[in-house]
């Protein structure tokens, strides 16, 4: 055993990760949020990777660096929402108190209420009577509360609204917890083309001709189709669909136009996408899909935020060496306890002179001493008790610390493998790594800490 191991990679140890990213690949979050041309930041990624927290932390950091920010969150954890004062679902941005910083930055936050956003669109685009008919239609109610994609569409809609109010110079958007990160981009188009679709036109035809009675004027093909639908859905349902479709008629063109407008807004130069992931295989696979999709759609990708990355201040000590050292300590302890029988165990010198526990002889500490240990401990328990408080317990503690470190280094290695797989596939993507916090974040101080870590 070398007493003084070669100083391998102190720089790596200082930066907190064993193998830091090349400087060209590091995402500069501060430069992004300080740039006045950045008007929209969209945080996307698969579920459970910390999108909402990232969006809130970026919003807070930008506000404390002097920008007037609004954060649109979709489904924040209760305590996080409370800490920002947005636990009430009223679909209106609220100013967040206790924002610090020197400039005149402001943070506003809101939680999306998709049904209400949908209702507001209806109310804004139809006359009073027609709006009331739509809102009361069971079909509309089902659609507005749970259309696969309504949440995504309404998030886009709300983003468009916030942008057109022009009250904020930076909008940070969280995206819905979709089954897949891509849903956010697909849903608005899907809803748009769906509402404009051939079928809707067909369904509207009879209602226009004369409501329920109009059905009999349909051609054969059409009646076969409505017949099949009627069989499947039941007559009343089909009529509800038709009334609903007819009532929404005036709005359809608008839906498509708005979905297209929001889509173009996302492609505009002032928009920046941040793909959020954790250093796990599935999350990074989704992130890779998203990166590819953004490129295909000409959406401006700013970079990848890799959350909950583990580091170590002692990264130059490998898992293997830490484990070997821990074993060393534990073995010497067994040998020491053997010595304890002789009676010189409690000599105060032991505490001061590490030489006595030098592992030189302990290299073959023997399977043989292990079985003898248990009876020894039970018969002379009072001796063991006194020795426990001296250097045996120090060794035990140190061995424990080394085992913890070994576990940490294995985790680090696994996270790096996953990250490297992603960066090998997408070397062009800038990455910001956010060091893991031991606990959950649910106050502004926690968000601030995340922001600090984000900015590196």
């Amino acid at each position: 055993m070398t007493p003084e191991p070669a100083r391998t990679s102190d720089s790596a140890a200082a930066s907190g990760t064993a193998r830091p990213l090349a400087p060209g690949r590091a995402l500069d979050v501060d430069a992004l949020i300080d740039d006045p041309r950045t008007r929209i930041v969209v945080c996307c990624g698969s579920g459970g990777v910390g999108k909402t927290t990232t969006a809130a932390a970026i919003g807070l950091r930008a506000a404390e660096r002097g920008r007037k920010v609004v954060v649109l969150t979709i489904d924040p954890a209760r305590r996080l929402a409370q800490s920002m004062g947005i636990d009430r679902l009223d679909n209106v941005p609220r100013r967040v108190k206790d924002v610090e910083g020197e400039g005149d930055g402001e943070l506003h936050a809101m939680m999306l209420d998709m049904k209400r956003t949908f209702d507001e669109i209806v109310e804004a685009h139809a006359d009073k009577e027609r709006a009331a008919a739509i809102l009361a239609n069971p079909f509309y109610q089902s659609l507005s509360a749970g259309f696969a994609g309504t949440q995504e569409y309404m998030a886009m809609e709300k983003l468009g609204q916030l942008r057109s109010r022009d009250e904020w110079d930076l909008i940070v958007v969280d995206t819905p917890p979709s089954r897949s990160a891509l849903d956010f981009l697909d849903a608005p188009k899907r809803l748009g083309s769906f509402l404009d679709g051939k079928l809707i036109r067909l369904l509207m035809a009879p209602a226009k001709v004369g409501g329920r009675a109009g059905m009999k004027f349909l051609n054969v093909g059409m009646s076969m189709m409505t017949g099949a639908l009627g069989k499947l859905l039941g007559g009343p349902l089909l009529r509800d669909v038709q009334t609903f479709v007819a009532a929404m008629d005036t709005m359809f063109g608008g839906f498509r136009t708005r979905a297209d407008a929001t889509y173009r807004l996302l492609q505009a130069p002032g928009t920046a996408f941040l793909v959020v992931a954790s250093p796990e295989r599935d999350a990074l696979r989704e992130a890779a899909y998203f990166v590819e999709r953004l490129a295909a759609d000409d959406m401006p990708l700013a970079g990848l935020v890799l959350n909950r990355v583990h580091g170590s201040g002692a990264a130059h000590l490998s898992a293997e060496r830490a484990l070997a050292a821990a074993e060393n300590l534990e073995e010497s302890r067994i040998v020491d306890q053997g010595d304890g029988k002789v009676g010189d165990r409690n000599s105060p010198d032991n505490l001061l002179s590490p030489e006595t526990s030098q592992p030189s002889e302990a290299s073959q500490p023997s399977e043989t001493s292990v079985p003898s240990e248990a009876p020894h401990e039970t018969t002379t328990s009072d001796v063991a008790e006194t020795t426990d408080t001296t250097d045996t317990s120090v060794e035990q503690l140190t061995a424990g610390l080394l085992r913890l470190h070994a576990e940490r280094m294995r985790l680090l290695a696994r996270e790096q493998r996953t990250r490297d797989r992603f960066t090998a596939l997408h070397p062009e993507v800038a990455v910001a790594e956010v060091a893991a916090l031991p606990g959950d974040v649910h106050d502004l101080a926690g968000l601030r800490a995340i922001g600090d870590r984000l900015a590196g």
Binding site: G48, F194, A228, L232, L233, L329, P354, S357, L397, G439
Partner: protein
């Protein structure tokens, strides 16, 4: 034991993995299970390292002792066509409807309708018998939507009630609800020992109970090993001077214990990691206490050191079996 086991959980908790491990665990001793996917993610194919699953029941794994796991990725559109064909012999008209976009229409605009097709297909597999009158599958495991949506998803009756008051969809919903609310079904929730997923589990259980859907087990996934006894660690850190740890590290061959020596410079980072460990451990203990209060059987699955792969899946299945889940 329930023959339909529904697995839900917050995003990122590994519910697909747990569902797959459960299907494997239940397929022991010549039993046959069906693992069903409803969200079109192809997560099962990825886990079992097979090609993309079609809308067709297909054997994907053999469990120890000769059991078999089949898998099915339910596609709501194809399920609807299936359904039309089965009950109305509407094969040709079904294709015409699809061409018109009517199938897409029907399955997307009314989420309740879509869900009743998905759950309906799973329930059909639960009840299906072969010629000898034996159940086709001993057990059906469903990789279901996440906790936030699970009650809505399963409570198809309520969802469809406002839309279809009569008619075949209504009847289908009724039939599905009878299975889902019976002891034949158990809804398990997967969580992590973290605040947000535990909170979501609490909300999920409350919602399921108020909808009278049978809550099964709570499965804590990715549990990190307890490397140190927390109390011992705390006591040790309190009593032990830094210099003693430095000497001990030095004795273990990690360099000099003097100020600035290699061993001495390890002390701070190691202590920092220990403090993080202790903090996380205390948080996890707190979350475990919260989970115990739900009064549901609690299971724990280890975090796999090497990451998740097919071998890991068998490892988790064995762990589930040992814990008496199968």
């Amino acid at each position: 034991m329930s023959r339909l086991q529904v697995v839900s959980g917050k995003g990122g908790t590994g519910k697909t993995t747990v569902a797959a491990a459960l299907a494997l665990a239940l397929a022991t001793e010549g039993k046959r299970t069906l693992l069903v996917e409803v969200e079109g993610r192809q997560g099962i194919a990825q886990l079992f390292e097979t090609e993309t699953l079609p809308y067709e029941e297909r054997k994907i794994a053999v469990a120890p002792g000769g059991g078999e796991v089949y898998a099915l990725a339910i596609d709501p559109e194809l399920a609807l066509l299936d359904y039309l064909q089965m009950f109305y012999k509407l094969g040709g008209a079904g294709r015409a409807l699809k061409k018109l976009g009517a199938i897409d229409f029907a399955t997307t605009i009314a989420p309740g309708l879509r869900d009743v097709l998905l759950t309906g297909k799973a329930c059909e597999a639960v009840r299906r018998k072969d010629k000898s009158g034996r159940y086709a599958y001993d057990c059906v495991v469903m990789d279901a939507p996440p906790t936030g949506r699970i009650t809505r998803f399963l409570n198809v009756n309520d969802e469809v009630a406002g839309l279809a008051k009569i008619g075949p969809i209504h009847n289908q919903a009724q039939a599905v609800m009878r299975v889902l609310k019976s002891p034949e079904t158990a809804v398990h929730l997967v969580t992590l020992l973290e605040e947000m997923p535990v909170q979501e589990t609490a909300d999920g259980i409350a919602e399921l109970r108020s909808a009278r859907l049978p809550v099964g087990r709570v499965i804590v996934n990715m549990v990190r090993p307890a490397l140190l006894d927390e109390a011992e660690l705390e006591l040790g850190l309190e009593r032990t001077p830094r210099t003693a740890i430095a000497r001990s590290l030095s004795a273990a061959g990690l360099g000099g214990a003097r100020r600035g020596g290699s061993a001495e410079r390890l002390v701070d980072p190691l202590l920092e990691q220990a403090a993080e460990y202790a903090e996380r451990f205390a948080l996890e203990r707190g979350q475990r206490d919260v989970l115990r209060e739900f009064g549901r059987p609690l299971h724990e699955l280890p975090l796999l050191a090497g990451g998740m792969d097919l071998a890991g899946l068998y490892e988790l299945a064995t762990a589930l079996r040992k814990q008496g889940i199968a």
